[in-house]
């Protein structure tokens, strides 16, 4: 291989080239296994064969991930002891080249503007502080690199074209042997993407699940055995941020899928070895279910004393289950669910999307896909009456309108019932409600086709 590579690049070049020029697209990676987590993290295992002399040697590992976390590197091999590991990121630049030449001799080439003849002089670099001072014979000059060409005798050691991992090893015996390099890398991640075709008339969905993995690590992993872990490891503290209140109808499941598990996480192996190219986004199918039951719902949540001079669109919600019976029958890794419906000509059109977290099998999901053009709610604060000290009556009306040719059920949640006081009561209501929590009451209102309904509620509060 090596002589072939050299033949290929038989150029009139100095024989002192330090390493053979690699053939195009050749990689120093060995047998690579990549385990990718959801949170921009991957474990890379790289089995390479090293030819080692007995005793202490320094090995450079090229083609490791450019986003390697060097502190996580471990190296294992039979009869090997790691003396030290280095991660050198002092990059070779023109400026550093001059800096490292201080005290050394360089060659200056000048071209005569008239005769075009080139003259060469040896010069010693004295200093390079905001300008380069050189000594030519007995003259001291400030180098003007725009007029002369500078030739350096050699590359300075320890300057790299890119960050390089090197390991000093102590070998008990010489010869070739397999070694395993393990490290964590950022820049690799994955999520799931679900294509959901909703048939409203039949009340069914067809769902295809795709694993989408992205590689922005700066490195291509060739023929990698790839494993995806449905979980974000090591970021237990990051899940405490603000989350919007869920739409009613979401509940986690309790069923176990017949898939490989690693501790708390499901793992999704990719069947064949695959090349994960740099700057690539790759998708592999992992779920294909047709005819699972699904239903559409309308939901509107009104804040305390929320009122509007215009009718506001209710959320369109898609509800389905991931249960084995009457559902998708699988756990769903976190990702984006995109929902499509067929238009009048039968072509699927996009009607909205929503994100899901890691969803166990047996869960119920309620996902907002958009806002209904034709189903609206107009909340109004009709009256605020003081009934006594710390005793108020608030009369609200909610006007539901439906411009669709079929009746719909709108779920209205009035929230804020437990904001600062704890004895909010519903004194009277024109339709029965369900107190879903201390803070919320829920009405399920049937609105006739091309019709409207008004709900009137009186709340008793301390303020």
């Amino acid at each position: 291989m090596r002589w072939l590579a050299l033949t290929l690049v038989a150029i009139p070049c100095a024989a002192e080239a330090q390493t053979a020029v690699p053939a195009p697209d050749q990689t120093a990676q060995g047998e690579v296994a990549v385990t990718i987590y959801n949170n921009n993290l991957a474990l890379v295992q790289d089995r390479r064969t090293l030819s080692l002399a007995i005793g202490r040697t320094r090995q450079e590992f090229a083609d490791v991930s450019a986003s390697i976390r060097p502190e996580t590197v471990t190296l294992n091999g039979a009869g090997l002891t790691v003396v030290e590991q280095n991660f050198d990121y002092d990059l070779l630049t023109p400026e550093k080249l001059m800096e490292k030449a201080i005290g050394r001799t360089i060659t200056l080439v000048r071209t005569d503007p008239g005769t075009k003849a080139e003259t060469r002089e040896e010069a010693r670099v004295l200093a390079n502080n905001n300008g380069t001072v050189v000594q030519i014979g007995n003259r001291i000059e400030v180098l003007d690199a725009s007029r002369v060409r500078v030739i350096f005798p050699s590359l300075p050691p320890n300057l790299r074209a890119r960050p390089t991992l090197s390991v000093t090893l102590e070998a008990e015996s010489g010869g070739a042997r397999p070694v395993t390099l393990n490290y964590l890398s950022t820049g690799l991640g994955w999520k799931a993407d679900y294509v959901t075709l909703f048939d409203e008339a039949a009340g069914k969905i067809d769902v295809q699940g795709w694993v989408t993995l992205t590689n922005n690590s700066g490195t291509t992993f060739n023929n990698a055995q790839t494993l995806l872990v449905a979980g974000a490891v090591g970021d237990a503290n990051s899940q405490r941020g603000y989350r919007p209140r869920p739409i009613p109808g979401n509940s986690p499941g309790t069923e176990t899928v017949n898939r490989e598990q690693l501790g708390d996480f499901y793992v999704y192996p990719i069947a064949a070895r695959t090349t994960i190219a740099n700057a690539q986004q790759k998708q592999v199918s992992f779920l294909d279910v047709s005819g699972a039951p699904a239903a559409k719902a309308y939901f509107y949540r009104n804040n305390w004393l929320g009122a509007s001079a215009q009718a506001l669109s209710a959320d369109t919600v898609l509800r389905f289950s991931t249960s084995r019976d009457g559902g998708l029958g699988d756990a769903l890794p976190a990702g984006t669910v995109r929902v499509y419906m067929r238009d009048a000509r039968g072509a699927p059109q996009f009607i909205g999307e929503n994100n899901i977290g890691h969803t166990p099998m047996g869960s119920r999901l309620a996902l907002k896909t958009g806002e209904a053009f034709d189903v609206k709610v107009q909340p109004t604060v009709e009256k605020r009456e003081a009934l006594g000290k710390d005793k108020w009556r608030t009369t609200m009306t909610y006007r539901f309108t439906n411009a669709r040719p079929n009746p719909v059920v709108v779920e209205l949640a009035q929230s804020g019932l437990d904001n600062w006081w704890h004895d909010t009561r519903i004194e009277s209501e024109s339709l029965p409600s369900e107190r879903t929590s201390a803070d919320e009451a829920l009405w399920k209102v049937t609105v006739p086709a091309n019709g409207e309904v008004t709900l009137t509620v009186a709340f008793l509060t301390r303020y």
Binding site: L8, A14, P94, F152, A279, K282, I351, G370, V375
Partner: protein
């Protein structure tokens, strides 16, 4: 040279234990395409579409005919939208399904060309004093330290001022001109198939623009509306079935695609020494190419719509319900060209009954200056009765044989049966004022409206009532709207009207 290279490729493939290579098949473009455009979910309706910053998106569905070979094959789809969201791509019609989908965005650029050529031979072309010399060299530094090269004579840095240039022998494999979507499939036998490729893509937008021309002395208006759709993508869609989708569609993330990261990074040759840097004389920057401004687009000014009233009535889009959204279909196939804007008629209704109303709000001792309002009912019996997607409304008043703009407002999405209000202007000839007198425990209020117009106007005031306050003793009958007492009155020409009422605290029981 090529056979050797191929041999190496084979050897390395064999060494790496790779399966037989998939055969590449290129699909250069679609046979037919449909484009459904969704408006930017975050753009306010009053903000016009900015052709240079389109943040809406489109669902693009393409039919392509492909001849797939027996065995494993990689099908590359060329000519897809540059703003493609690859994770949304759906490919149907392949007989044996899709093994995997890839979007390769490692783009060919000055930087990637240099980075991928590390350790490989290039040619330095040097122009000094009008003479050009070429020399072979090997790249020794990375793209962040460009450019240190090794020549026969030693180590050199490429001149940062442009007198030296690098010439590469070939484009490294795996770099593509633009992001390319490909799918891998496996077929039992070679055959020709028609596949459907659909995907979402960024860089589109649309909006409705209404034009109301008053007639019959302000009692009705001719209503015309355009759908304005824009394609900011680099790809044109010829003879496309074109649709726009109205209503609010939930999107997550909301960012532009993350692919194509590499092409934006700057890349330049660094200088060897500071003296050099100080004396460098850049060639004057070329004038930036003139941006494609709206003058180059086939945009039609909204005010140009009056042609619809005169000669031929334009073809309007056809509406259908799509779940809880509205889909408007352009009835004929049309070309949605790259970097262009297009207008199609949305509706054309004559003599829609409207009310012109002056409105104020009263809160405490404050009364808001009256604003001019156009009100219509979205009902069949009142000349409308169709879903109206949100958009801007321009109101014109005839003047001789021309029309002048008298106001501009906007409406949200209005379903059939809803009241449609457009706030078009601040009134100049109708004023409202308020007086207040506290006598004993009660507060007497007086609200006066004056009209300097030579014609009567309709005036409405919504009265904001604070918690625990009751209105009593009104001199006129008050209605109720949006949970507030409403005073609706006709103000005579060059006259005024006053409402008096009392605000009393509600007595606690």
């Amino acid at each position: 040279m090529r056979p050797i290279r191929a041999l190496i490729a084979l050897l390395s493939a064999a060494l790496a234990g790779a399966p037989a290579l998939a055969q590449p098949v290129t699909s250069p473009g679609p046979d037919s395409v449909s484009v459904a455009i969704y408006a930017d979910p975050d753009r306010w309706v009053d903000t016009p579409i900015n052709p240079a910053w389109l943040r809406g998106y489109a669902l693009i569905s393409e039919k392509r005919t492909i001849t797939i070979p027996k065995g494993r094959a990689v099908i590359r789809f060329e000519g897809v939208a540059g703003g493609i969201l690859p994770e949304s791509a759906i490919v149907t019609g392949l007989p044996d399904g899709v093994r995997e989908k890839n979007l390769d965005a490692d783009l060919l650029s000055a930087r990637s060309l240099y980075a991928r050529s590390l350790g490989r031979p290039v040619t330095i072309r040097r122009t000094r004093g009008g003479r050009t010399v070429e020399e072979r060299a090997i790249i020794r530094s990375g793209p962040d330290g460009a450019a240190v090269l090794e020549t026969r004579e030693g180590i050199v840095a490429v001149d940062c001022r442009g007198s030296e240039a690098l010439i590469y022998d070939a484009v490294p494999a795996g770099l593509s001109a633009k992001p390319t979507l490909s799918v891998e499939t496996e077929a039992a036998e070679a055959r020709q198939v028609t596949v459907t490729l659909s995907y979402l893509a960024w860089g589109f937008d649309w909006q409705a623009n209404y034009v109301a021309t008053m007639r019959d002395g302000g009692r009705s208006a001719d209503l015309f509306a355009w759908v304005t759709l824009a394609n900011g993508d680099v790809t044109s869609f010829a003879d496309a079935a074109t649709m726009v989708v109205g209503g609010r569609v939930n999107r997550e993330g909301g960012g532009a695609p993350v692919s194509g990261l590499d092409d934006g990074e700057p890349f330049e040759f660094q200088c060897l020494s500071h003296v050099e840097a100080r004396e460098e004389q850049y060639a004057p920057m070329p004038e930036p190419a003139p941006m494609a401004d709206s003058g180059e687009r086939d945009a039609i000014a909204v005010t140009g719509m009056r042609m619809s009233l005169s000669a031929s009535t334009p073809i309007t889009v056809v509406r259908e319900a799509l779940g809880d959204l509205q889909l408007y279909r352009v009835p004929h196939r049309t070309t949605v060209a790259a970097q262009s804007q297009k207008q199609v008629a949305l509706l054309n209704r004559e003599a829609v009954p409207v009310d012109v109303i002056y409105r104020s709000y009263v809160s405490g001792n404050y009364v808001s200056p009256p604003e001019l309002l156009l009100r219509a009912q979205n009902r069949e019996a009142r000349g409308l009765g169709l879903p109206l997607p949100r958009g801007k409304v321009a109101v014109f008043e005839p003047r001789g044989d021309t029309s002048l703009l008298i106001g501009e407002g906007s409406i949200g999405d209005k379903a059939v049966g809803e009241e449609v209000e457009v706030r078009v202007a601040q009134a100049t000839q109708v004023h409202a004022s308020k007086r207040l007198a506290v006598i004993g425990g009660r507060t007497d209020q007086a609200l006066t409206v004056t009209n300097a117009n030579p014609f009567p106007v309709r005036f409405e005031a919504g009265i904001v009532v604070n918690d625990g306050i009751k209105i009593g003793g009104a001199s006129a009958r008050l209605g109720r709207k949006d949970g507030r007492p409403l005073w609706a009155v006709q103000v005579p020409a060059n006259g005024s009207v006053t409402l008096t009422y009392r605000t009393d605290p509600v007595r606690r029981r």
